[in-house]
């Protein structure tokens, strides 16, 4: 990377301004096949696909439900374990793909709504729901560009290194009791480990691109992730120490019985730990305001500047899968996982709803806040977040020490605090819904009469 300071370019000045000849593009192998197929069937297939989008959507939905039901009811008990594993992994793959696809579409809708736009409206029949599918088709058809001086093997490998661990994290995430691929006693650590490997793909891609902007993105990602792993882990450790298990299933099961038994409301330190975890997880997912690795106003597109086509999609998918994964961890650990706010209605649906809400908040934050500078990112971690999480850990441990039947007085105090925290949480949620409802009611007053006529669909 540093040769540029010493080695002068061989071409005379200004040569690059007038390059008229375009390098010839050659498609080979799989790219050739895909491009051929796409050019042959795309003009017919894509409009057809979009025309019958509703039907395809419902058919797919029915098929997935039927598949899950049949597998769960009949096939699963009969199959040897590795076949069952394959089936579950395929199901998980489908789930995370849907998460990513809906996440990408949802991000655009959310950003549109926040910015008093509508977002995608045309693709598919209803609110542009097929937009990410159309984007995917577009990306598949795109030319697979690799910079000439890139480290080609690493450049090709990097998207997989980013994507596969992000998927592997889901192997340990429980969607409900029994709804987990592998209930390990170190499930939480496994998820964190997998999310930590993801950074390797980013660094690899940034370095192999042989672009300085990518390299900057990779460097920022490296520093940011390695530092924010510590407050993230410490916030979780406070929770883990409270319940005494690293198994995500155990952690979730222990929070059964109404919203007041969620770990979030157990003591004030855990309440704060949830927010420190959430902030650190934003940093580890490269989400705004910590989106420096891909900060487009500074680094063009950061580590994936040079990526195009399907490799770019893989990075994109990895990001959205990572977003959902950290939200899922927050849900299981702090928000009671699959347990319902009132006892007795536990269902994986709750888990998905809560995680989706957290993902939604990530999007909300992204479209509201500016980006932090890299030195401020590091200062925020080392100077504030890290000591604060340490304090939370110590505080939570001390609270646990006193919160037992031997200390009657403290137990009463703890109950009051828990109740207060619970009310605070409910109040925040209520405020949020009230604000959302207010915004929805006044959605037409956001823009003036003359401006509104320019909006699509007006």
């Amino acid at each position: 990377m540093n040769q540029t300071a010493n080695i002068k370019p061989q071409t005379p000045l200004g040569q690059a301004m007038f390059v008229c000849e375009r390098p010839k593009v050659e498609y080979r192998g799989l790219s050739l096949k895909i491009v051929q197929l796409a050019t042959k069937w795309g003009p017919i297939g894509i409009p057809l696909l979009l025309r019958f989008a509703w039907g395809i959507f419902f058919a797919a939905l029915v098929f997935v439900i039927a598949f899950v039901w049949v597998v769960g009811r009949f096939i699963n008990p009969l199959l040897p374990w590795f076949v069952r594993d394959v089936v579950v992994v395929v199901g998980l793959l489908a789930f995370v793909s849907i998460v990513a696809i809906i996440g990408i579409w949802g991000e655009r809708k959310v950003s549109g709504r926040i910015q008093s736009r509508l977002g995608p409206m045309r693709t598919g029949a209803w609110h542009g729901w097929a937009q990410s599918l159309a984007d995917g088709l577009k990306f598949v058809q795109k030319e697979d560009l690799i910079p000439q001086d890139a480290d080609k093997p690493l450049f090709r490998l990097a998207p997989y290194v980013a994507l596969v661990p992000a998927f592997c994290a889901y192997l340990a995430i429980p969607f409900g009791v029994g709804w987990v691929f592998h209930d390990s006693d170190v499930g939480l650590l496994f998820v964190l480990a997998m999310l930590a490997i993801e950074v390797l793909g980013v660094i690899m891609g940034g370095w192999a691109s042989n672009s300085k902007w990518s390299l900057y993105g990779a460097m920022r990602e490296g520093c940011q992730l390695v530092s924010y792993e510590i407050p993230m882990g410490l916030s979780l450790v406070a929770a883990v120490a409270w319940l005494g298990s690293l198994s995500l299933v155990e952690l979730g099961r222990a929070q059964d019985g109404g919203w007041w038994s969620w770990l979030l409301f157990q003591n004030p330190f855990l309440f704060a730990a949830f927010f420190t975890y959430y902030i650190a997880s934003l940093a580890s997912c490269k989400r705004s305001p910590f989106d420096l690795p891909e900060g487009e106003s500074e680094l063009v597109a950061g580590f994936h500047t040079e990526y195009s086509g399907f490799r770019f999609v893989m990075f994109f998918f990895a990001e959205y899968m990572g977003m959902f994964a950290v939200s899922a961890v927050a849900t299981v650990i702090f928000l009671g996982g699959w347990n319902s706010p009132v006892p007795g209605l536990a269902s994986p649906l709750w888990f998905v709803i809560k995680s989706t809400f957290l993902v939604w908040v990530q999007m909300w934050v992204r479209w509201t806040l500016p980006r932090i500078r890299i030195d401020q990112v590091m200062h925020a971690c080392v100077k504030y977040l890290l000591p604060f999480t340490l304090l939370l850990f110590v505080g939570s441990s001390l609270w646990q020490l006193y919160d037992n039947p031997d200390h009657r007085l403290f137990e009463g105090f703890a109950a009051v605090v828990r109740f207060g925290l619970g009310c605070l949480g409910l109040l925040l949620l209520g405020l949020y819904f009230a604000g959302a409802a207010y915004g929805f009611y006044h959605r037409n007053q956001l823009v003036g009469q003359m401006v509104r006529k320019h909006l699509p669909g007006a």
Binding site: P12, L13, G14, Q15, M17, F18, C20
Partner: protein, 159 residues
């Protein structure tokens, strides 16, 4: 100060440099010898009664008929609010003049532009390079006798 006051003041202190002056009309200015430009510029900038601290523009005007290039320095004072201009005439064949970028750093880019488009060479300029045209562009486009080039680096232009 009105333009006539400024001219009188200037002639009083730099009589040897000021060639002529126009006090009325839309463009009051003083014509200054090229050798005295640096001194006059520093005087305009630092003299407490003038304090022309903001150099607004340096315009180069090509006069093939008079066989010279005029350089007009438009200045204004942000503290006193009066505006003025000084002019320098340089030889068209060998245009050289002292740079005023030590007095007004703003002149740096204006002088680069005059160098680029009009071919005026500014002595003691910290970084006299072309600014708008490519480094190897032939000629100085804003001169009146500039001929359009037909080819640049293999790129053919239509006439």
């Amino acid at each position: 100060m009105t333009p006539s006051d400024i001219i009188a003041f200037l002639q009083q202190h730099h009589a040897e440099s000021v060639v002529s002056a126009v006090a009325d009309g839309p463009y009051p200015h003083a014509l200054v010898k090229a050798e005295g430009l640096a001194a006059v510029a520093a005087f305009l900038k630092t003299q407490p009664r003038l304090r022309f601290d903001l150099l607004r523009c340096i315009s180069a005007i090509d006069w093939p008929a008079k066989n010279n290039i005029e350089l007009a320095y438009d200045v204004i004072s942000t503290s006193l609010g009066h505006a003025f201009a000084i002019k320098v005439v340089v030889d068209r064949a060998d245009p050289r003049v002292e740079s005023v970028s030590t007095v007004w750093p703003a002149a740096e880019w204006h002088e680069r532009e005059a160098f680029d488009l009009m071919g005026v060479e500014f002595l003691h300029h910290p970084d006299l390079r072309r600014i708008l045209m490519p480094e190897d562009w032939p000629g100085h486009p804003l001169r009146k006798d500039y001929q359009d080039i037909v080819e640049y680096r293999g790129l053919k232009f239509n006439p």
